[in-house]
């Protein structure tokens, strides 16, 4: 059964960290460059994120994502290089197109920030099972109902997609055109909606009843099947990232 997850099963120091520490680490490495606001801090955070991805042996997974964003990056350099509001110093010219240093520098900062956001997020996403992350958050006070919604959606959406395909096959077997021109394909989705929505509503009600008879609404404190294992590296990492955040704020305020 497919679930909505990019988690990559590996044995590594990063995989062994508890989800909340990873969430804290990711959030810090993502926020610090925005607080400090210069290229150097962004480069440092990006370097740390790439090192973490490398240690977790999942770095290759982000190359395709970064490659996909190449068009966006090129567009960014062209627009900022030529039209950035603070453009003063000419860098080079391609015929009549003039590119400025200030614009190119700003485009570099935006690009590095973008790469940093992607790589920081991937440290969490590629090395953490979504269910583990949600369970960790529920342990720390997230409502079990919200936790359930987040966890179930990862499996139930693929189920709904599978149901959609079954209903489409049923419609197709009765002669409905579902392929060809865009208009034909769009028309095919209209008769799909009623059975899909109805079956989803019925399934939701039945699932709600099934949850109720398994004490989902119980008001007592929940317990957990799995013991939460906090790695010995968790505390130093949380302390270091907290110090990094504090240092970034001080840097911003003082300088």
């Amino acid at each position: 059964m497919r679930t909505i997850s990019l988690y990559v099963e590996k044995e590594s120091f990063i995989h062994g960290l508890d989800p909340v520490t990873k969430l804290w680490l990711t959030a810090s490495l993502l926020i610090i460059p925005f607080i400090v606001g210069n290229i150097e801090s962004t480069l440092v955070c990006l370097g740390i994120n790439l090192a973490l991805l490398s240690v977790a042996r999942v770095i290759r997974r982000i190359f395709s994502i970064l490659a996909m964003s190449l068009v966006l990056i090129i567009t960014l350099f062209i627009i900022q290089g030529m039209f950035y509001g603070g453009n003063r110093t000419e860098a080079f010219a391609l015929g009549s197109l003039v590119f400025y240093r200030e614009g190119l520098r700003y485009a570099t900062l935006l690009t590095l920030r973008f790469f940093n956001i992607i790589s920081a997020s991937m440290v969490l996403i590629l090395t953490t099972r979504p269910s583990d992350l949600i369970e960790s958050l529920v342990r720390r006070g997230l409502s079990p109902r919200i936790g359930y919604v987040l966890a179930s959606v990862l499996q139930i959406i693929p189920m709904m997609i599978s149901n959609t395909s079954t209903i489409m096959d049923a419609q197709r077997s009765r002669g409905m055109e579902t392929e060809g021109r865009l208009v034909t394909r769009m028309k095919a989705y209209l008769p799909l909606m009623a059975p899909l929505v109805m079956s989803s509503l019925v399934a939701t009600q039945e699932r709600a009843m099934a949850l109720e008879v398994r004490a989902f609404g119980a008001r007592n404190p929940k317990t957990f099947l799995h013991e939460e294992i906090i790695s010995r590296h968790a505390l130093p990492i949380r302390v270091l990232t907290s110090l990094g955040l504090v240092a970034a704020v001080i840097w911003r305020v003082i300088l």
Binding site: A151, M159, M209, V213, R214, A215, G217, P221, T223, L225
Partner: protein, 283 residues
């Protein structure tokens, strides 16, 4: 003997219903008994099962009269999650009973136990026990959605039984399963019987009910049409008028006028064969 389940003059109408789904239903079930509930569509079987676990009236807010007492608890005076420790309910559709929030069969069975706040070692003990009882060892690490219909329904029963209820209601648990899946579920229900549980099972497969049930509750249009031993209920002349087809062996025996000394017809293959042998010897 004190009844385990007491349903007294139970009537219920859904908020959007024109007619009563249940109309003056009364019966009792005794500890360790297997009560089969049969009846055509819209007879009120599902509503009755939902009333036994308190979903009616706590989940569906309609008009309810009468009372249901299960395991000594009046279902109106407690919550569904509190009742779940005494009465379990298994639904028709195995797919919609999967929570969707757990990644393995093992975790799925543990879901209810986490909700009632059991300690971890007790959870693992109970889940291991249920996995062994319902023959799910080879799929314990599988994703629940990857199971066959029969396995999924057995997992659903195991999830309910892990809460250790004294009474379990099953609402047509085999209606969406193939013969193999149905056989697996009935074997699981037989395992519950052997543990001394009180079983109330709504089911369309009358041959199976005739084989497993101690008594049969025949429902029609929300009312109790009969409640007696299977051979008494299935020997009635007006079964087809009530929307129920008798077991195949009973129909054959009726054609052959093959009756027990008390005038009832055989309802299982073994009964029919024994009667046929006796009649051959006598003739």
């Amino acid at each position: 003997m004190k009844p385990e389940v007491m349903v007294q003059d139970l009537s219920y109408r859904y908020d959007d219903g024109e007619e009563k789904a249940l109309d003056g239903v009364s019966f009792e079930v005794y500890p360790g008994e297997f009560l089969g509930v049969v009846g055509p569509n819209k007879a009120g079987k599902s509503t009755l099962c939902q009333a036994l676990v308190g979903l009616v009236p706590h989940f569906f807010h309609g008009n309810m009269d009468g009372r249901v007492v299960a395991g000594g608890i009046d279902t109106r005076e407690t919550t569904v999650d509190e009742l779940s420790k005494t009465v379990g309910l298994v639904f028709q559709n195995p797919f919609t009973q999967v929570t969707g929030a757990k990644l393995t069969v093992y975790e799925e069975i543990a879901f209810g136990l986490e909700n009632i706040g059991l300690p971890r070692d007790e959870i693992t003990r109970r889940v291991d026990e249920m996995i062994a009882l319902f023959g799910l060892e080879h799929v314990r690490h599988h994703n629940p959605f990857e199971l066959s219909g029969g396995q999924m329904q057995r997992m659903a029963i195991a999830s309910i039984m892990a809460l250790r209820p004294r009474i379990v209601a099953l609402d047509e648990p085999t209606s969406q399963l193939d013969p193999q899946g149905s056989a697996e579920v009935f074997q699981a229900v037989a395992a519950l019987r052997n543990q001394g549980l009180t079983v109330i099972m709504a089911e369309q497969k009358v041959e199976k009910i005739a084989r497993y049930a101690d008594r049969v509750l025949l429902m029609h249009k929300g009312k109790v049409a009969a409640c007696d031993r299977p051979e008494v209920v299935f020997s009635r002349d007006n079964l087809l008028d009530l929307g129920i087809r008798p077991p195949a062996y009973t129909s054959v025996a009726r054609e052959l006028d093959l009756r027990r000394p008390d005038g009832t017809l055989p309802v299982t293959l073994d009964d029919a064969v024994a009667l046929l042998r006796n009649s051959s010897v006598n003739s």
